[in-house]
Amino acid sequence: MKKLALFTIILLIFGTISPSLVNHAYGQNDPGILLRIATHADNQIVNQLNGVYGNEIPNNIKILYQKGHFAVESLDESLSNNNIEKAKQDFLLAMNSFMQISRTIFQSSEKVVVVTVSEKSNQSISSEIDRLEKYVKSLENISKKYDIDVESDFIKIHDLIQELRAEINNVNEVHAGIKKIKVLLDSIKNDIRESASKQSNAIKDFFEKFLIQIDQKLLEAKNLGRDEVEITKADQLILEIRELLSKNQINSAKILYSELEIVLKNIGISVKIT
């Protein structure tokens, strides 16, 4: 039984320290990924080299490519030999060589490859609309938790997004549409905040605990003979904050709290509860 108890204690210790082991080990999860990425990059570099230089690859790039390609081969071998540390080094060497090659290729071919303005804008605008839609959806999800009448606004926004997608080539029109949507979203955000502040007991509870602590610290400050004018000012602000909280005016309470923070600093009171 003693042995068993000892074994259990060892197991418990293992259980306690193993999360760090697990995290460390996760860093070595499936080293095969390294080979797949490196091989893929190697192929892409070969395609680019053929496309840009054909048979006339400059010597410096040839040398870099050979370095990278050999590193990929070495990576394959290291993985076969289960030498993970060597595989990591090979991977970084290969990817570094390919990085240098691609930077050289694309810098030198910048003049040759023309990216048309309309293509660039379309891609950029489409991405911007995608992100905006994501933002809208996230606000829509939040708004569902609160009792606010913004459903019609969201319908309007979704319709506008559809219109923007249809008119993606008309850059000016799209930008104007995006601005319109952002104004609507700002208004919705304010509505959510206002409604949320009314419903939140968590913030009120937090304020109440906090104000009790500050009351005590002000008393101590009085006893220590600190600036009485500032202490009276702080007491007054606390009263006002409590009144606002009782009326559910959280945002106004927050603004007054910022003022209180400055007064407390003047008195020399730390505002962080520990």
């Binding site: 039984m1 068993l4 074994f7 259990t8 197991l11 418990l12 259980g15 306690t16 193993s18 999360p19 697990v22 080990a25 860093g27 070595q28 999860n29 499936d30 095969g32 990924i33 390294l34 797949r36 990425i37 893929h40 990059a41 892409q44 395609n47 680019q48 991977f91 970084l92 990817m95 390919f98 990085m99 240098q100 691609s102 290729i105 694309f106 810098q107 071919s109 891609q123 489409s126 991405s127 911007e128 995608d130 992100r131 994501k134 933002y135 606000l139 939040i142 938790k145 959510i192 949320a196 939140s200 968590a202 913030i203 937090f206 304020f207 906090f210 927050k254 923070e261 505002v271 962080k272």
Partner: protein, 334 residues
């Protein structure tokens, strides 16, 4: 004189006023069912690493859009006693910034350069989302993603993007909606990519077996098995040290047929019991017999009593259980 030869155990058990004290070691052992307790501890200990490894203090997910803008979503735990929290952003060109506290509570924020001041007021978990334009730069057709991340993160690259350079070791890679999603470790990372219509996502690793997870589970199973083996062995040792009879009995009762010849009137099911006990080294716990023959407690008890009456077996108490043993004197009777 009498007191001199009094057994030590009796001495300890009797108080000055004649009150009988009972040694409570074995009672304590039995009452709390130590094996059960130890088994529970083993299970708890084995589950601890799994439970802990599942919990993550911080998530960071990034999505690179085709125009190079990156969407950042992160979840962080903060001190609930703070009135505000200063979050370092990954740059200063930020759009669509949203911070949600516990219970989907939208929090007030103020962004100054690359810092966001979030009024947390008692919230302990913050979900933060924003778009940032500073993480990806472009040189010709080549795009470069750069980030110095404080934690491990997931990065979803745009569709049709081909990675041609990387300065960090990827932890994992998956295909999500035909896009490569890399899991990268904390620290500085630079990834070069370009768009190519001929680019296919790098083959998925999701379908491959996660050998490491299997190794962890395997190790835990092996540890449990070792523990169980130690437990069983220690139990056997105990029984051996207490009772040395089985080995000697095994030597005495050499032939099962002799027993059946001596007791020709034994029932067939009783004979099966005797055979089992004989093959088990001449003894077996009543509970083992019940398990082996799938008999209820009372039925097995009657069978054992019957065999005892026939003089085939004898019953001894061992750890509050009935130990059924073939009688040593059986062969002598012939």
């Amino acid at each position: 004189m009498i007191s001199l030869i009094e057994p030590i155990q009796s001495k300890n058990s009797l108080g000055d006023d004649g009150i009988l004290f009972v040694r409570n070691d074995s009672i304590f052992d039995t009452m709390i069912k130590t094996p059960l307790l130890v088994a529970s501890m083993i299970i708890v200990a084995a589950l601890l690493p799994i439970q802990s490894s599942f919990s993550s203090p911080r998530d960071l997910d990034l999505i690179i859009y085709p125009d190079g803008t990156t969407h950042v979503s992160t979840e962080i735990e903060i001190d609930p006693f703070l009135t505000d929290y200063e979050l370092n952003l990954f740059g200063n060109t930020i759009d669509n910034f949203v911070v949600i506290g516990n219970d989907e509570f939208l929090l007030d924020t103020d962004i100054i350069d690359d810092t966001a001041l979030i009024q947390t007021f008692g919230f302990s978990v913050l979900k933060i989302e924003y778009d940032i334009h500073d993480l990806v730069s472009k040189q010709g057709k080549l795009w470069t993603f750069s980030l110095d991340s404080p934690s491990d993160f997931k990065l979803l690259l745009p569709q049709n993007s081909a990675i041609v350079g990387m300065t960090n070791l990827p932890i994992n890679m998956e295909i999500v909606n035909d896009q490569n999603q890399l899991t990268l470790s904390s620290g500085k990372t630079e990834i070069d990519y370009f768009f190519s219509t001929s680019t296919n996502p790098i083959p998925d690793t999701k379908t491959e077996i996660d050998y490491f997870s299997y190794v962890i589970v395997g190790v835990i199973i092996v540890i449990i098995l070792i523990g169980f083996t130690i437990f069983v062995r220690s139990k056997q040792k105990n029984s051996n040290s207490i009772e040395q009879i089985p080995t000697s009995q095994k030597n005495v009762i050499s032939n099962i047929e002799t027993i059946f010849k001596l007791k020709p009137d034994l029932r067939e099911d009783d004979k099966e019991l005797v055979k089992f006990i004989f093959n088990n080294g001449g003894e077996a716990l009543e509970s083992e017999l019940r398990k082996k023959f799938l008999q209820p407690r009372t039925t097995m008890w009657r069978a054992v009593k019957r065999l005892e009456r026939e003089g085939v077996i004898e019953i001894e108490k061992k750890d509050l259980q009935n130990l059924v043993k073939l009688r040593k004197s059986m062969e002598e009777e012939k």
